[in-house]
Symmetry: none
Subunit: 208 residues, 4 copies
DNA sequence: AATGAATGAGGTTTCATTCAT
DNA sequence: AATGAATGAAACCTCATTCAT
């Protein structure tokens, strides 16, 4: 009689589908303005079904924030940790790679939310700090210190040097989320990465 | 008995007091979680009185975001526009100045909100873009192009160069709002400014 | 592989098992706070299976309230109806018997629910009235009237006399459900029965 | 233009009006089935206004249970504590008084709820135990012990004697709430009190 | 000009019930 | 006969906004 069943069983796929829908809605509206209704609709579910997989709106938000980036960060860090050559060349490789990732993953939107909701969800900011920011920063600082010890890089506080290296990439990511949708010029992250890395390395390397 | 009605006191100050209270609450809680009740209480008023000065919560939010920074930006821009010497020296002066301002004004908190609410309040992001970001960026780009024309600075896309120069300051501001409250190490903005400006200028200047 | 489908096991027992689980959950939580999920879990079934045996939560509730006591009441009433000796001695036997039953059956908990839900489920209160309360009361009233006719008992409204006889037992049952779990002293129902029956019979019997 | 204002200020009267409406709805439906909407409507208010006076539905429920009886209990206990004559005569006065109060106050309905919700709101059962039941029981037990010491009353556990005295009154109250609305015969509490007190005293007094 | 009681729309969450498997 | 994913109708509670005082 009725051609279309009201719903179909898909338990295994559901969490992923819900998180995908939630990423879209949360990043578009922010935590508070996101409505469970809309997430459910985009996931092709009823509101109540969401609660089979996530106990609260906050739990869903946490899942979004943690799932969105963690896997990709590992990959980058592992590559860097396994690097054999000199520090400057590693940096030359690393920044464009990160720029490429940032272009295709929802990093920017999630980062925006982590920043925006850090007061209301300190734990999420902590997750990002502990799993994304701190590891990346530590790795960079260690590499810079090594480069300085080997005489490849000029002296200076390694943490600040790391800021000098990474900041334009992150700012570009935020820019693309915040100002580009308004009609402000887009940012070509890989291009920025290429030019910036050369500029800053020229200022950091001992011989050129 | 009391001949003086209690609200005769101040009058013209009210809007400013309300905005001041609103800055505190909005930056502490974000737009959605901020309650008019609390803003009113901090302004020493009743909830209803707020509506005599601002039609809606959004209007108050707009006032906060617009008023919070505009005046200070002008000052910096005017100083820079009036600069007579070479571009590198201007930059050497500018970054620490900005760093100092960012330490005492609520720029970071408001910037965080502008970023976080940019999807829900595009006009606010636009205000910031048009009144803060774009003017500063334009000025910097013009200066850089001039420096390049005069042979003081190496070639390269001026906009990216501007990013290379400013990004660590802005990222530091955001960091202090997002991660420092969690116990992550603080960022000494003026120190970052001093080291970064020398590093990046060493990579930008033609002769050193 | 597994030739035996898992639900082939029992079959006829199911309703009884469900009611048993439901008694536990309903008496622990009350009607509204009882969740079908929990009843199903305790019965070793899934939620959906419950609906094969009971159309609604209310239907299950009705089954609980009706089944919980009916069989036991019959026994007591039959014993009393078959009594051959004098009324006072019957009462001396009856009250401790009832007290003993009340100690091991969930009468108290179910009585509590019948009382608590009587407005929302008048029919259940009616079942209890018609099948438990009224028969017992009628029997007692008839016996008392007979005793008065034979000169064994003093005059007075038989219904009130029946109240005088039975009330402490019922109140004790309720007390044990309501106040004892809070740490209030327990009630030794049989002991109360023994003392009360002697006190009240001393006031009812014509010669002592 | 508009003859009737949408609402009128009546802050001081509100809590009482709300509790009165809540008593009606809670006692009619029980805690879970009572809807704030209906309480508000009966109090002539909107749903939201309730929350200006009571933080949660539970808080309102607590207010109902505590407010409904406390004042009246005090009065009875004080009268009894000030009694000068013999114990039997005090009891002869006390029971009809209690019966009269129970006829005009919502004691029965509230008692029913305390019993029905004791598992979900143990603290309310405790309030009733501590403020109503225990004081009354203690007083009675003390009076009975005094009567026994003076030789007016026969020996026996005072607590059980107190049960023997009071139980029919309480049971009558519950009966009137549970079975009378169904068409079962009403209980004339004062009449029950008069006959019961004589019956039971005849069994308790040493000389008659 | 100011108050704060009252409104009412809207959101999250729960859970009895249904139904594809 | 059984499962449990999915539905959808409430219900509680919040809070920006209004308006009688």
């Amino acid at each position: 009689m009725n051609a279309e069943p009201r719903w179909r069983r898909r338990k295994a796929d559901r969490p992923g589908e819900i998180v995908a829908a939630a990423i879209a809605v949360f990043t578009e509206r922010g935590f508070a303005a996101a409505r469970i209704d809309e997430i459910a609709a985009r996931a092709g579910l009823s509101k109540g079904a969401i609660y089979r997989y996530f106990d609260t709106k906050e739990a869903l938000f946490r899942a979004v924030v943690t799932d969105a980036v963690r896997p990709n960060v590992r990959k980058v860090l592992d590559t860097a940790a396994a690097w054999q050559g000199g520090v400057p060349d590693l940096v030359r490789m690393l920044l464009p790679t990160v720029a490429g990732l940032a272009m295709k993953l929802p990093v920017g939107a999630v980062l925006k939310m982590v920043i925006g909701e850090s007061r209301n969800f300190p734990e999420l900011a902590r997750v990002w700090h502990d799993e994304v920011v701190q590891p990346a920063l530590s790795l960079l600082m260690r590499l810079i210190a090594e480069g300085q010890a080997r005489g490849e890089l000029r002296p200076g506080d390694p943490r600040t040097h790391a800021f000098s290296l990474m900041a334009p990439m992150l700012l570009g990511v935020i820019w693309r989320e915040t100002f580009t949708p308004l009609g402000a010029g887009d940012v070509d992250l890989p291009a920025v990465a290429r030019q910036h890395v050369e500029t800053v390395l020229a200022g950091m390397e001992t011989r050129r």
